[in-house]
């Protein structure tokens, strides 16, 4: 009965036959490669595409890989510092642009904060490489932190601004009517209210920094290799089962970060 109904012409004018099929194909295209990586990561055979049997061995060897762990350490340090810097700058800019009175050149300031979103990343990467070499900065870590802080700012800024736009400022005005100083108002009223936005923004910039390849690849050197740059060097050597295990671990980590952010964004909407 139901099967027959599928073949009856749908009278709904908003229904477009075939769009559903494209949708199904699209999601298959998007997730099939990921599922293939996960499946192959459990293959005990060293030749990736020939199935031999289930095994955890590639995860064990990935977790003992010194180069991988070192690059993970570099990435985490860089992402932590960059997120901290970007979030503080983004919060203060968002507060001024959304709550400040008589802000001059507000449009221009928006553009300045979002500047990194407008440039292709390779342009920023080579530009900052030349700057660093002119300034004579040697430390790879410092270069990475400075560059990542700059391009993470808009990713921290946008969720915080969205949160500020979504709530009215009655409570803040009430606090000021009751003689709270601006700092007290910020600490007791505004900060707790925009906390979800700050959380989402900082998580986003953390992930953007962790994932960045183009800038890190050009700027790094001086003994600091980030995780994506290390993985890239592995991919260049070709497909391998250990690489499948590493990719799966990274995807699991991404899923663990993305899901709470998504839930928070959904609830605050």
């Amino acid at each position: 009965m139901n099967i027959l109904a599928m073949f009856k012409p749908n009278r709904d004018a908003k229904h477009y036959p075939g769009f559903g099929a494209v949708g199904v194909l699209f999601f298959t295209f998007l997730y099939l490669p990921i599922l293939v990586i996960i499946a192959y990561s459990f293959n005990s055979n060293r030749i990736v595409s020939v199935w031999q049997g289930f095994s955890w061995q590639w995860y064990a060897s990935a977790l003992q890989n010194e180069g991988l762990l070192n690059s993970l350490r570099v990435s985490l340090t860089v992402a932590l510092f960059a997120t901290l810097v970007a979030t503080v700058i983004a919060v203060s800019a968002a507060l001024v642009l959304e709550r400040g009175q008589n802000v001059k050149h507000a449009k221009l300031s928006q553009g300045v904060v979002n500047l990194p979103l407008m440039l292709p990343e390779i342009v920023f990467a080579v530009a900052i490489l030349i700057l660093f070499s002119q300034l004579g900065i040697q430390s790879g870590m410092l270069k990475l932190i400075l560059a990542h802080s700059a391009f993470c700012i808009p990713f921290a800024f946008l969720p915080i601004r969205a949160r500020l736009q979504g709530m009215d400022n009655n409570l803040e005005q009430a606090a000021q009517d009751l003689y709270a100083t601006p700092l007290v108002t910020f600490r007791r009223i505004t900060l707790p209210l925009i906390a979800p936005g700050i959380f989402a923004g900082s998580m986003l910039s953390f992930v953007i920094s962790m994932d960045d390849f183009i800038t890190s690849n050009i700027v790094s050197g001086g003994g600091a290799t980030t995780l994506p740059v290390y993985i890239f060097s592995l991919v260049k050597q070709g497909v391998s089962p250990e690489l499948n295990a590493i990719s799966t671990l990274i995807m699991v980590a991404s899923l663990l970060i993305a899901t709470p952010c998504w839930l928070i964004a959904k609830r605050s909407r």
Partner: protein, 292 residues
Amino acid sequence: MKKLSWNFWGLLPAYLVMSLLMVLPLLIIFYVSFMTSDAYGGYKAIFSLQSYSQIFYTADWDDNLVLNFQYLKIIARTLFLSGATAVICLLVSFPVAYYISRQSNNMKTFLLYLVTLPFWVSMVVRVYACVLILSNDGVLESGLRFFGLIGDIDSLLYNNAAMMVGMVYTYIPLMILPIYASIEKLDTRLIEAASDLYSCRMNTLRSIILPLCKPGIVAGFILVLVPCLGTVLEPMLLGGGKTMMLGNLIQNQFGVARNWSFGASLTVLLLCIVLLFLMFQAHRTSKLRELS
């Protein structure tokens, strides 16, 4: 007066970081592109247009300038592949976005979650997924070979098509989201009205839905096109180094090729192309705002 100073101190850090780490480096790039390159990396402070002429001409053994298609080909390939990627993304994204918008609320949220999830996964890993699928004796190749669709020695990797598959795979969510947003804003009663007036589905799509979704379509097109023009990973991993694009050509000038001023002039060129597209879009949105 006090209010103004709060505004000033709040925006100061953002301005400082952006001018020191974004604007200043861009000015330096612009400056370097007009300098003479130094054979050992870096540049000499002597004005020359040589790095720009190098894009078009090469000096032969008589020091005459001869037209050189080597770099022009790379630029043309970059424009063509990016444009084709954006078109393919559009053709796929519109039906998908429309399909998502027709689902129940819970299903919509779930499907949008599935669309955005890849963004949280590292780009290198996503491109590696494409390498794995297309690689020698990978899933796709052995499948196609089994059905006799490709010969024994054909490889799916290391060509223009492989790069395009990789670019579509990494950037398509950027197209779906703005188109979905514009479809959600669409007043569905217009579609019903059109059908009541005996318009067939194709006609409604062409004269009602697509025109009303145009802002989303244009935004998605630009969002996909701009990162494609400067893409680095896909040509390196899926193009195999032989088939270059502007992004990794620039990167090479600052790496192995050690020709900074040529790299800088290519960067300026890329920036000009991107600004052209961004200005086109800014012009469009401002015109739309005037209309409404």
